[in-house]
Symmetry: C2
Subunit: 201 residues, 2 copies
Amino acid sequence: MSGVRAQQKQKTRQALIEAAFNQLSAEHSFSNLSLREVAREAGIAPTSFYRHFKDMNELGLTMVDEAGLTLRQLMRQARRRIASGGSVIITSVETFMEFIDTSSNQFRLLLRERSGTSKAFRAAVAREIKHFILELAHYLETETPCDKHHAYMQSEAMVTLVFNAGAEALDQDAQQRAELTERLIWQLRYIARGANHYGAQ
Amino acid sequence: MSGVRAQQKQKTRQALIEAAFNQLSAEHSFSNLSLREVAREAGIAPTSFYRHFKDMNELGLTMVDEAGLTLRQLMRQARRRIASGGSVIITSVETFMEFIDTSSNQFRLLLRERSGTSKAFRAAVAREIKHFILELAHYLETETPCDKHHAYMQSEAMVTLVFNAGAEALDQDAQQRAELTERLIWQLRYIARGANHYGAQ
DNA sequence: TATTTTAGCGTACAACTGTACGCTGAAATT
DNA sequence: AATTTCAGCGTACAGTTGTACGCTAAAATA
């Protein structure tokens, strides 16, 4: 097992995924990508693409999974920072902004396919975001005086705002981002305050 | 002035715009549209398209303007309902959900191009949304005990949540929408509460 | 060692795209 | 009435797309 052959296959499969991510940008979305372009950048013949994916859709879903994984790893790291004494809101926001900065194409994929033309894509992204919401909701439920239902709604609102701020940040310079982040933090405070008021148990 | 000729030109121009809107759907975004398909549906030859728009981009920007106009008109109507004694939050949310229901393709355009591949599109959509935020912020500033800066942040957060809920509603049935709307209303209450606390003057 | 499996290639093709170019007939202008 | 303007058309072309098909060489298996 894991012979030379399977190893090489895995390698070009990954090359395809990376080629696709590389071609994403502010001006290029996944649905604009062509199978041929991706294959070209990955250094294989167009027809060899099919040895790895049934079609571009399958590649895309794999990419969504990968982006979700990256995000989850980053947030796990954030939780560690929080556990060792950081502010929840500020640490989470900082971590998310880091994700947007260092993995902007992965974020762009999630952002765009969330409202894209493939139901499967939309569902996949929604699933990733839901993970997120549930994790945060769990935290809020155990660490703040907020009942389960309100914790969920609070979490949902917060994740929505953070995600959206991330989208805006993509087009902004450092100065604008700083202002955006500051507003975002206030807005998260509003929600925390309101939820703790209505949802106190 | 307004001769037979100019009138006919205006008519086919509108036919192009409507053809393009008709071709938008859950599975078809603006960037998937082809000039030829749009021209075909509008009943003109592909090359005649250029008599009306420089390219598809110009058509798209016109469509964004039109969608923004529709939305603004709807919200003006909502303000009238509020003035005659309705709840601000509930009336606004209901009006927005109505927009999504009756003009789903116009909403889809705004939703997708907000994070699309054309900077001009993104800016155009951002402008429409900013209108919205400023209007609501003005209302909050005059009608609630909240200073200017906090009124703006509150408004921004609220519009973001409403817009995002609209996006989710697109894929949902009546039952799910009702639940979503209920959550949304709670979330808006959180924000109102929190903003009034931190921003009270 | 002999056989089977398979990642990757090259060729080929039909479908579609945007758009350049020149024509036409009717409306508008003179 | 003579002239100009111009919305819309048809033809044409080069470029790109996805993918069907059959081949090859090397790795895996027997």
